[in-house]
């Protein structure tokens, strides 16, 4: 099979040393899980001890590559990072685009599984030659942002492409990110896991090439896909960026404001925070991720702004000054904080303070820069805020859980579920917690013929499952979701791409089975780690408080949609796959109780 190397690298950290070992994976694993998020989910299942503390040394951190990575196909320079989330206690996977992805695959492996911990802050260098892998203590790098670290290392000739954590990762903030070329694998706190291993940075060096089975066809398709990526389907991302959503969502009354208390900031404020307003606050520059022909990366005054960041550090905390928003976004980038969770946590803290439940000097609309710094350093109240909304609510009590806006501990993204009720189901059942990237069910609500204010028990589960399976496909291949509009038949084209690259024919139905298998393994991981049906729910606010236009979300309807979703997925009531689903997806071959594959023996 081309496109893959058929092996992974086990990386074991202990004291001030590292030992590595190549472990072969059967070809069937690639067929079953494709790559990226899918392959990573399987590896996480295999290597994470059941019930492991996400910040314990034995908790694995998985970097998973994909068969398309390293080909000329646009948007494929990505990798997935997986762990048991220290924020949710459930599966976490982040995707990041970067030249690091391209460089890391040249180690000649399809994934890295990192276990153990160093006894002091170190730089982990991984090399195609196992004997050249090493750890260097780097106490002087403590407190550097990933960007500062990259600049310094480049000037000193240490390394070119790096995966690193900022101060928040070092302090094990539960929503710390891992940064690569200025992009982040966010959501769920993978940065805290790397921080718990005391690894500040990972550099890579290798020259291995997985190759492709049909280079001529890949070249032709790469040109075709690049042309499609420059068409009308992606114009919004290219011309305006996702920041254009804010004003639109304000008009559609789905833009959460003040910790999901209302859904509009008004036309004038929306225009101030829209791309045109941001451009007045900072010089606008457009850029692209490595290997991407779309170019959705819009920066204002040097700070990258995407819709979720704009929502979370703007309307959600009631900030309508573009300069304040840009400063907060820049601080999250430098500190290595997930912007949705940072904004969501601060919004919850602001509401608690305004209600008098805590005496923090924090109000909606405040400048949050000092608070972000306090969180990243765990100073003062920042130490509790570093724990995320769910844990803060558990400490504060006094009924605050009612408006603690999270699912499974993950703060909500910027779509109002009371006015998007298919998406409400997507949020409830998503394996990562409140999630817009592994489902994308918001798309179902924004189409003709769907009443987005109604919980459609009969149709919503199938819509959510289709969105989840589509995401599993794109996240495992790995292709950018912003190509969605340019790929009319993702299953057919996905199968074609895999066949061209790997040389192994895939059918559309066969690929759909892989996507369902990936979803099943992600769910099974959560069940093993303690999932119960009770956590597939939204906070009480969304049921007990109607929006100003009267929109509300019926608790019983949502529960019925959740039940119908699990039934349609083939899950048994207590969680996990039914016997039928196990047989259909051959899950018993993968969800074994066998101990994890052995690691390197060289550390004893």
């Amino acid at each position: 099979m081309r496109g893959n190397f058929g092996r992974i690298l086990l990386v074991e950290l202990r004291g001030d040393r590292v030992a590595v070992e190549h472990v072969a994976l059967p070809e069937a694993a690639y067929h079953a899980f494709v790559g990226g998020v899918g392959l990573g989910a399987y590896l996480l299942w295999r290597f994470a001890p059941a019930g492991v503390d996400p910040l314990a040394p034995e908790a694995p951190l998985v970097y998973a590559f994909s068969p398309l990575l390293g080909t000329p196909l646009t948007t494929t320079a990505k990798f997935a990072v997986l762990c048991k989330s220290p924020l949710t206690g459930r599966i976490s996977d982040g995707l990041s685009s970067s030249r690091f992805a391209l460089a890391a695959k040249r180690l000649g492996v399809d994934a890295l599984v990192i276990r153990g911990a160093l006894d002091r802050l170190g730089w982990l260098h991984l090399d195609e030659d196992p004997a050249a892998c090493r750890v260097e203590p780097c106490p002087a790098w403590a407190g550097l942002s990933a960007h500062e670290l990259s600049d310094m290392a480049a000037k000193q000739g240490l390394f070119r492409h790096v995966s690193a954590i900022g101060p928040a990762g070092e302090a094990q903030i539960r929503y710390a990110t891992i940064s690569n070329d200025g992009r982040h694998a966010g959501r769920g706190g993978a940065g805290a896991v790397l921080g718990a291993k005391r690894v500040k940075a990972i550099s890579v060096r290798g020259a291995a090439v997985a190759g492709v089975a049909d280079a001529a066809s890949v070249q032709v398709r790469a040109r075709d896909l690049a042309a499609r990526s420059a068409g009308a389907a992606t114009e919004k991302y290219r011309a305006l960026g996702t920041a254009a959503n804010l004003e639109t969502f304000d008009r559609l009354r789905i833009l959460p404001r003040r910790n999901f208390q209302t859904v509009s900031i008004g036309q004038a404020a929306a225009r101030r925070l829209a791309p045109e307003g941001l451009a007045r606050a900072g010089e606008h520059v457009r850029d692209s991720c490595a290997g991407c022909t779309i170019g959705c990366d819009h920066r204002y005054g040097g700070t990258r702004i995407e819709y979720e960041t704009q929502f979370a550090l703007g309307p959600l905390i009631d900030v309508d000054d573009p300069a304040c928003l840009l400063a907060a976004a820049g601080a999250c980038d430098a500190l290595g904080l997930d912007t949705i969770s940072a904004g969501g946590t601060l919004a919850f803290a602001m509401e608690c303070a305004e209600r008098g439940l805590v005496d923090w000097p924090l109000r909606f609309g405040d400048d949050v820069l000092p608070w972000l710094r306090a969180i990243a350093r765990r100073e003062g109240a920042g130490d509790l805020l570093a724990e995320g909304t769910r844990r803060i609510a558990a400490v504060i009590g006094q009924g605050s859980e009612r408006f603690a806006c999270h699912v499974k501990g993950l703060e909500l993204p910027g779509y109002e579920p009371r006015a998007m009720q298919t998406f409400a189901l997507g949020l409830c059942v998503a394996c990562r917690g409140a999630d817009h990237n592994r489902s994308g069910a918001y798309q179902a609500d924004l189409q003709a013929g769907v009443d987005r204010y109604r919980a459609d028990v009969a149709r919503a589960p199938a819509r959510v499952i289709e969105a989840e399976d589509n995401a599993a496909l794109l996240d495992s291949l790995i292709l950018c979701k912003f190509l969605r509009g340019a790929i009319r038949e993702p299953w057919r084209e996905g199968a074609e791409l895999l066949a061209m690259v790997t040389g192994v024919p895939r059918g559309e139905d066969d690929l759909r089975r892989s996507a369902r298998r990936i979803a099943a393994v992600r769910h099974a991981f959560n069940v093993r780690e303690g999932w119960t049906l009770a956590e597939d729910r939204l906070p009480d606010r969304f049921h007990d408080e109607a929006l100003e236009d009267g929109a509300s979300l019926d608790r019983a309807d949502v529960a019925a949609m959740v039940d119908a979703y699990h039934a349609a997925r083939g899950h048994v009531p207590r969680g996990g796959p039914s016997e039928r689903l196990r047989r259909e997806l051959e899950l018993d071959a993968w969800l074994t109780d066998a101990p994890p594959l052995q690691g390197p023996a060289s550390l004893g």
Binding site: E235, A244, R253, G485
Partner: protein, 86 residues
């Protein structure tokens, strides 16, 4: 008259954020839009229909696509990019 508000790429293409057109069916309104805002053609509006790159919501709520749908005087149509996400 029907007010059409434009957001995202439709606004960028049209160079206008708000226009008024005579009431009628959705198709007649889209024809009128194409006539007064030619930048919308062909990627946003084509042949009296919206392309897959745009959506229109009645009063910002119900998303509609049926070209025969009557749109009454005083209605506000919100024309947006189809691509959400971010």
């Amino acid at each position: 008259m029907v007010t059409v508000e434009l957001y995202g790429v439709p606004r960028l293409r049209a160079g206008a954020s708000r226009v008024e057109v005579p009431a009628g069916t959705l198709a007649s309104i889209l024809h009128a839009l194409a006539s007064i805002l030619p930048g919308l053609v062909p990627d946003i509006v084509h042949d009296g229909r919206l392309t897959e790159h745009a959506l229109v919501a009645v009063d910002g709520r119900e998303i509609v696509a049926d070209p025969t749908l009557p749109i009454a005087d005083g209605t506000v149509l919100v024309l947006i990019s189809a691509a959400a996400g971010g």
